[in-house]
């Protein structure tokens, strides 16, 4: 897929996610909107995962560690056909397929249920190590939030991946700089962020997380015979709530669900993107 078509996928996914959280009266739309672009690039272009190869033991693995962004994750997955689109219609309702955190229960293409932060990367390293040891060329993509980098397991895993040279791992950090209550730097300072990862033995790319051409380039890895011997982290600089002016950079939309009026305004804005 080209950047034009992944951009169209992202727009469709934003619309789906907004409708889903509106129906489900659930939260975390800001976190979903900030990472939909990078997820659309993974599912729509770079990662070798599709409805046709879900059972292939050598397909790529995408783990969304920031499980609270379930509406965004499921929206992208539904818009590429991995899960049925109509599963979004009763998002979070009693007896629905899809709940408010990414869950692997009967959901194809989801390997790990997340929602407690700091679980996706260690789990992804297990997959990466298994691939290395068994000669599989599959790649492992782990999508994390920047707030998640407060977790100790993030840095334990940074050591493990660096030490073992797991160059089949690519982490995409949704660097929207806003966590549960305030700015990441006022909560628990992460900067100099890129330098930290570099010091742990990672290859670091620092890009605009809404620029699809840049995302495609950053997520592409060379042939396994031509790899760096280093895990890669792509710091995707994003805007929380991206695409809806009144949600952008607002902590409120980590929690609030759009009412009918907000939904109409938001849909008009994202459709024009």
């Amino acid at each position: 897929m080209t950047s034009t078509s992944t951009e169209a996928l992202a727009t469709r996914s934003r619309i789906s996610a907004l409708k889903a959280v509106h129906f489900g009266k659930t939260s975390h739309i800001g976190s979903s909107l900030s990472m939909i672009d990078l997820l659309a690039v993974l599912y729509g272009s770079v990662a070798n995962i599709s409805p046709a190869n879900l059972d292939d033991p050598n397909r790529d693995i995408v783990i969304v560690s920031k499980g609270h962004a379930a509406a965004g994750t499921y929206s992208v997955m539904a818009n590429v056909g991995i899960i049925p689109l109509d599963w979004l219609d009763d998002y979070c309702a009693d007896g629905a397929h899809l709940g408010g955190h990414v869950t692997s229960l009967s959901i194809p293409g989801v390997e790990l249920s997340t929602g407690s932060l700091g679980h996706g990367l260690p789990f992804g390293l297990g997959y990466a190590l298994a691939a290395k040891r068994s000669g599989s060329r599959r790649k492992i993509f782990v999508v994390m939030s920047d707030g998640e980098c407060d977790e100790g397991t993030t840095w334990e895993s940074a050591l493990v991946a660096g030490h073992h040279g797991l160059d089949n791992v690519t982490v995409a950090v949704d660097r929207n700089r806003l966590q549960s209550l305030m700015d990441t730097e006022d909560t628990l300072r992460l900067e100099p962020f890129a330098a930290k990862w570099r010091d742990f033995g990672w290859e670091v790319l620092d890009i605009d997380g809404h620029d699809h051409a840049a995302l495609i380039e950053a997520f592409k890895r060379g042939d396994p015979s031509d790899t760096s011997g280093k895990p890669r982290i792509v710091i995707c600089n994003t805007t929380k709530g991206k695409g809806v002016s009144f949600m952008e950079n607002q902590v409120l939309w980590h929690y609030r669900s759009p009412d009918d009026e907000h939904l109409a305004l938001a849909l008009a804005e994202v459709s024009a993107l």
Binding site: P57, L112, L125, A131, T153, E156
Partner: protein, 307 residues
């Protein structure tokens, strides 16, 4: 028990290419041979227990049958949420192996005493809890854990425990194991502390009380017919080197209540007021916690007065 475990795991790994051993930087003089023979199926995750369990869950998701080895509370309490979410919720083939059941690490202190682990592991969905009493049970349970294909917790003593069985134990262990028959009281025990029940049995005989000693190597799921082993005796006791809150005693009492069993049951375990207050060997700490042959003897005598 740890030698029996690693020896059996090594044999298993030769038979089954999916066996993978992950350690949390512990296992000096235990894991070296396995690591040398199977370098591609061995990982020292470092002193990073949470990541160790997450990595193990990922390895299992990719098809490996994973054993995670460490000591005391490090592979359980330190990483309980990883075990709960990444392993148990997804039903992954990961067996957590902890050396140091109860007071095995005696003078190393409370941080190294595993006396609440059964309760915590037992509470997790899909989790099997294995608690061998001797090297023979350890071998059988190691195989059983691997064959189950699901989450397990294997609680080992340390090393040098006596064999309580005559010869090998053949699994899978879906039943309790009667170590010594008796006619008055049935003592269900788990782990190496059963040896104290066997001592108490001798002393009880001298006062005319006949105790049946039963090993419970699988605490979860408890065998459905567990109370058949107490048929013909008037009272039941449980014995564990573990807190009374949620361990073997709790499991048996809960099961008895649900099964409408009317036989009086008396559970023996650690005394909370004594926990972490003493320095000394495993034998000393057991005794300070009311876990001695004498204490079992007098508890049995008293219980039978009401039975």
């Amino acid at each position: 028990m740890r030698d029996a475990f690693i020896s059996e795991l090594t044999i298993l790994a030769r038979e089954d290419p999916s066996i993978f051993l992950v350690i949390g930087d512990l296992g000096f003089s235990v894991i070296e041979e396995f690591a040398a023979e199977f370098p591609d199926r061995f990982l020292n995750a470092g002193v990073a227990e949470q990541t160790m369990i997450g990595v193990s869950a990922g390895l299992a998701a990719a098809g490996y049958t994973v054993f995670v080895y460490s000591i005391g509370n490090f592979p359980t309490m330190r990483c309980i949420e990883q075990i709960r979410n990444d392993v148990c919720y997804h039903g992954r083939a990961v067996t957590v192996v902890a050396v140091g059941a109860g007071y095995s690490y005696g003078s190393l202190g409370y941080t190294h005493h595993a006396i609440e682990d059964i309760s915590v592991m037992r509470a997790l969905p899909n989790m099997q809890v294995f608690s061998p009493a001797d090297p023979a049970e350890t071998r059988a349970l190691t195989r059983q854990a691997a064959a189950s294909g699901g989450p397990g917790y294997l609680r080992l003593g340390k090393n040098g425990e006596k064999n309580l069985h005559n010869g090998p134990v053949t699994g899978p262990l879906s039943e309790v194991l009667v170590l010594h028959d008796g006619t008055d009281v049935t003592i269900y025990g788990t782990g190496s502390i059963i040896s104290l029940a066997l001592e108490a049995r001798e002393a009880l005989l001298e006062e005319g009380i006949s105790a049946r000693i039963v090993s419970v190597p699988v605490i979860k799921p408890l065998p459905a017919d567990i109370f058949d082993a107490a048929d013909g005796t008037r009272a039941i006791m449980t014995l564990e080197e573990h807190t009374l809150f949620g361990g073997l005693g709790s499991a048996i009492l809960e099961f008895a209540a649900r099964s409408h069993v009317r036989t009086p049951i008396f559970p023996m375990g650690t005394i909370e007021a004594e926990v972490g207050r003493h320095v000394g060997s495993q034998a000393y700490l057991r005794q300070k916690n009311g876990l001695s042959a004498e204490a079992i003897q007098s508890a049995a005598r008293e219980l039978l007065q009401f039975a």
